[in-house]
Symmetry: D3
Subunit: 159 residues, 6 copies
Amino acid sequence: MAVVIYPGTFDPVHNGHVDVIRRARALFDRVVVGVAQESGKEPLFTVDERVEMLREAVVGMQGVEVRSFDGLTVEFARRCGAVAIVKGVRVGDLEYELRMAHVNRRLAPELETVFLPTSPEYGFVSSTLIKEVARLGGSVDGLVPEVVRVRLRRRFGGS
Amino acid sequence: MAVVIYPGTFDPVHNGHVDVIRRARALFDRVVVGVAQESGKEPLFTVDERVEMLREAVVGMQGVEVRSFDGLTVEFARRCGAVAIVKGVRVGDLEYELRMAHVNRRLAPELETVFLPTSPEYGFVSSTLIKEVARLGGSVDGLVPEVVRVRLRRRFGGS
Amino acid sequence: MAVVIYPGTFDPVHNGHVDVIRRARALFDRVVVGVAQESGKEPLFTVDERVEMLREAVVGMQGVEVRSFDGLTVEFARRCGAVAIVKGVRVGDLEYELRMAHVNRRLAPELETVFLPTSPEYGFVSSTLIKEVARLGGSVDGLVPEVVRVRLRRRFGGS
Amino acid sequence: MAVVIYPGTFDPVHNGHVDVIRRARALFDRVVVGVAQESGKEPLFTVDERVEMLREAVVGMQGVEVRSFDGLTVEFARRCGAVAIVKGVRVGDLEYELRMAHVNRRLAPELETVFLPTSPEYGFVSSTLIKEVARLGGSVDGLVPEVVRVRLRRRFGGS
Amino acid sequence: MAVVIYPGTFDPVHNGHVDVIRRARALFDRVVVGVAQESGKEPLFTVDERVEMLREAVVGMQGVEVRSFDGLTVEFARRCGAVAIVKGVRVGDLEYELRMAHVNRRLAPELETVFLPTSPEYGFVSSTLIKEVARLGGSVDGLVPEVVRVRLRRRFGGS
Amino acid sequence: MAVVIYPGTFDPVHNGHVDVIRRARALFDRVVVGVAQESGKEPLFTVDERVEMLREAVVGMQGVEVRSFDGLTVEFARRCGAVAIVKGVRVGDLEYELRMAHVNRRLAPELETVFLPTSPEYGFVSSTLIKEVARLGGSVDGLVPEVVRVRLRRRFGGS
């Protein structure tokens, strides 16, 4: 049974993430979504909130599981028994992702990195943009799961 | 059983291709390498020669099969019962590959495209460069399977 | 009255082009679509056919005119009394377009180049891809105006 | 009458900005330069200083107005009655700008984004580089309006 | 004494090339400009014409020599006793140049590739664009040496 | 005697840096490695530690010297009597480096910037990645000089 992980900060999860999860699941038997407890910068939501929103966003998807982790991504992948790390990719961030893939391969040669192309309709969406728009009072309808929309409104107010 | 195709012109196959095939095979049950009969430009080797070299290059790999095809890549994928199209990707050709992925998704929404990062040691290798170096009498040792090295020498002379 | 030109080969026109024309027209009083008679490579359709298809594609748009031209784009722009050259732009072809813009500015300093971002849903469409898909018998529904779909089918057969 | 906005942080304005304003004004009837009160990071100059320097930099240009704003750029554009947002673009930052354009279009579908290519002689200039050079005591002559040169010197000393 | 080569097709030489030669000469004792006899596509000028124009363009520069060559660039470099291959580089063509550098290093590990950044004022100039503009009757004043301007006019007519 | 500088933050030095130093030394008579005392962000190691690690990393290389500096890079270059600034370059960070090169040329027109292509095997390595991996307890064997490996372990623990 082929297991893959889909790691990220998910601060918060948006519809582009959900799309990648669904597509990864069509290719592999099990997808473990890994929520990194810490990233470089201060997150808007706690790791528990981020996990909770993700769980609601993937409710009903068989073979998808959400967990938090800290430490190296490759160690998390090994604990999950994964054969690969899945990443969504769009024009403009491949360089960074390729570097990470090479580092990870060096740390864990048995582990592949697999890139899934981001759907054109979500190609411009990122968690940073979502937060910025919400902070300034703009609408994020259709870009994030309902649970995220509600929580962002609670945080920032707005429509 | 998850089947994927790995399509290309393979004029000729080089070690970067072989590396992608090996890694795709580690992730999926079966990999069908699809040799496109015609590409935009006049190939150096006939489709039969290209298939023959590929078969020698993957000899001994279980679950890997080499076939030629014409027509749309997505139709070939369907005939193979594939869940995804595999492409190697390196910095600098992602834009084109992403466009093709979006076109293919439109033609066959049930089919995914999966990008595997090219190994750094083959990141600079391409069939075009291989042919150019061989034509000018340079050595392609270590960049192509032995069968290809021999055939290129037969064509162009050189070491 | 601000006039702009939108030059290209349009071999054939696709929905991404039509989208740019419509958006340019919302910004400027008059848009002259300029069909370059010759490009570097052999076109699929004659310049008359390309003009004809474009005229059908923009039927009913006020302030839009289609003309063919040869020679320098900046000379065509001057003959039209244009203040700017409009180009659609997507990630991955900006470098070339910026170079052309600098050359054109040197040839005609009074003329601006204006880039309009391609809509995400057409970001992957190009005339070359359209022809390739049609040639191999794939469907281009929804990617080109009806008149183009019909003509491509007449040329290549297919659905 | 076609109104456009040209938004930014302008911390501080440099000659590349002034060049874009002049060129936007040649295409549209009125250009409202919008100075964003807050950006992600701590600015060097207050919003009032930034507005003041811009006003001096565009003195004598008819149909150009400088205002500060907070909140969403698209809301500012609406308040100004603008048909488009103007952005200068150079190789290397298009990806980010295209993403913002798609987000803004989603928030305000009636609003276009228009990219003007940066002049080659200012292609390397940015507010960040200007501040870095000034901070280290280098000369920014010819890269910024006189008023900015004077203020930077007052801040950092140097020639 | 450090010798470098500066290889290319130079069909024809333009002022960006001359700028790189001058700057390479400031760094190394001797610069051998290598004119490749054949490139992938049919040149506009014969190799003798290209050499002749280059020689006029560098007249008076001490330590600069122009020669034609065929075969591998690295073999030419070795025959010249060069320590490095010099290439001009601008945003947008680095990927290709880096690949060539890695191939050349593999073929001749003792040989370096050195990239000099193209001056912003020539960043948009290329031999292909020069020929296109001249063919369509546009002016190339200030973009090419006088000898090239005269020859292009003889070929294509125009100002 | 041709002197060049190789400036950076080196927080900490890694094997990609050492590779560039060795190759720059093959081209020029003397290489002065310049350790910038301050960069934008808080460094992990003090400038004295960074100089010390570099000195150990280049021990035994004739004609290589390590110094710290503050202020403008071009002023440091002048104090060293350098003819050029050397930078390693890989796909994905050229835009920034080209901008810096143009700024530096404006500040010091007599000074060249020379880019050396990063070796493929170090193309993915950066000081930031090294620190991230070490912080999370991963192995950086083979990516950094021995002295750096030891110091990182002292800081972060791990293997």
